[in-house]
Subunit: 231 residues, 2 copies
């Protein structure tokens, strides 16, 4: 077992998710995860604070990617351009491996209410990161909070749709489409137009926002990314 095993973080994540699905989250130990990955416990703890962070470390990565992208947007960028840049930045880590891991993660988190609560907290931390990044650009507090909520909802919707797509489809078009869809609906809210008739568009009714958030979050593939935004 090499101290500097290649792809250690990714191997540990895969082993952990497989064991969580096979034996349950509660009944899986760090020793078992390390063993399945062909690594030792010390290596596990270099990458994750505990087994729960295998499931939720990715939200910290996401918070960092979003905030960095918003900070890097041109000075005159609109709110929507800032959100689009943030979601596009997330695309970097949206790989076929990520899609496979997220499907397992959904199963594990859905079976454990404590993990669902943890997922919501992590989701909130990501939203706070977006709010703070927008505020630093001079956006007023309430606008920043609203934009962050819209951005998080767009991310969740894009992620749901991307999860069902083919393995080689990139994330960015899903992010753009979700953001456009939400902007169109926000317009309905602001004009006061009634939408209480039958749905006029074919929107998949696949679970609520929070179900997606709690069960469908995001964990990092790359150890480098994980270390760039430690807990």
């Amino acid at each position: 077992m090499s101290r500097w095993a290649p792809n250690a973080r990714e191997r540990l994540e895969t082993a952990a998710l497989d064991l969580f699905v096979e034996n349950g989250y509660e009944d899986t130990t760090v020793a078992q995860i390390a063993d399945r990955a062909g690594l030792n416990r010390a290596t596990f703890f270099r990458h994750f604070a505990d087994k729960r962070e295998v499931l939720f470390g990715g939200e910290d990565v996401l918070a960092g990617l979003f905030a960095d992208a918003i900070q890097a947007a041109p000075p005159g960028a609109t709110l929507t351009e800032c959100l689009r840049a943030a979601l596009a930045a997330a695309g970097v880590v949206m790989t076929p491996q990520r899609r496979a891991a997220a499907a397992k993660r959904r199963l594990v988190v859905a079976a454990n209410s404590e993990l669902q609560e943890r997922g919501l907290l992590k989701h909130t931390r990501v939203a706070e990161s977006v709010t703070a990044a927008l505020r630093e650009r001079g956006t007023d507090e309430l606008t920043a909070r609203l934009a962050a909520e819209v951005g998080m909802l767009a991310f969740s919707v894009a992620f749901e749709r991307w999860m069902k797509a083919n393995d080689d489809e990139p994330f960015a078009p899903f992010a753009d489409a979700a953001l456009s869809d939400l902007r169109a609906r926000a317009a309905e809210l602001t004009t006061g137009q009634s939408r209480n008739g039958p749905p006029s568009r074919d929107i998949p009714a696949s679970g609520t926002f929070s179900q997606v958030v709690a069960g469908d979050g995001f964990t990092p593939l790359s150890g480098e990314l994980g270390r760039a935004h430690p807990l």
Copy 2:
């Protein structure tokens, strides 16, 4: 100790919050709460599943009030009218006593990360209730989810501002103002107008959405209301 003590729920809540603030949430027992309220443990458990529900039972009340109000809105009501009706319904339980209890609750929850996570879960359940109520009116899934997020943000903002107001001020005007403020900002999102300059309005930057949600939730005053929406 009467089995049918008047205002038992309210007395238990007051006793619990006082003890949580004085001795900490973890170190307070149900027996102590009942004793302080001049009631017995059995009475406590008729009103609350456990001591945590003294802090979070109110979200169930809120979820019920919101959903009932949206269901009762006229068939042609716009999304904004539905949200306004929901927030107005919450006003019924926004009393001076509620304001005092919420201030204590904020202190208790802020000191305990597990309680913060629980608060987020409860907040999510309220949002889901709003989403479901809008969907039942024929609103498409994505619009319902967005409107629910906007409604929850409006509630949080209104609640923050109302908490700082005088004791005799009703909640409804705060709810209307918060909803109007958010609609104006949603318009900025949809037109693509830049808001990345200095703030043009005086919006208090008093904590993020989630801090408000986690620390500033809502617990019921009335036993009747509590029983109408049991856990």
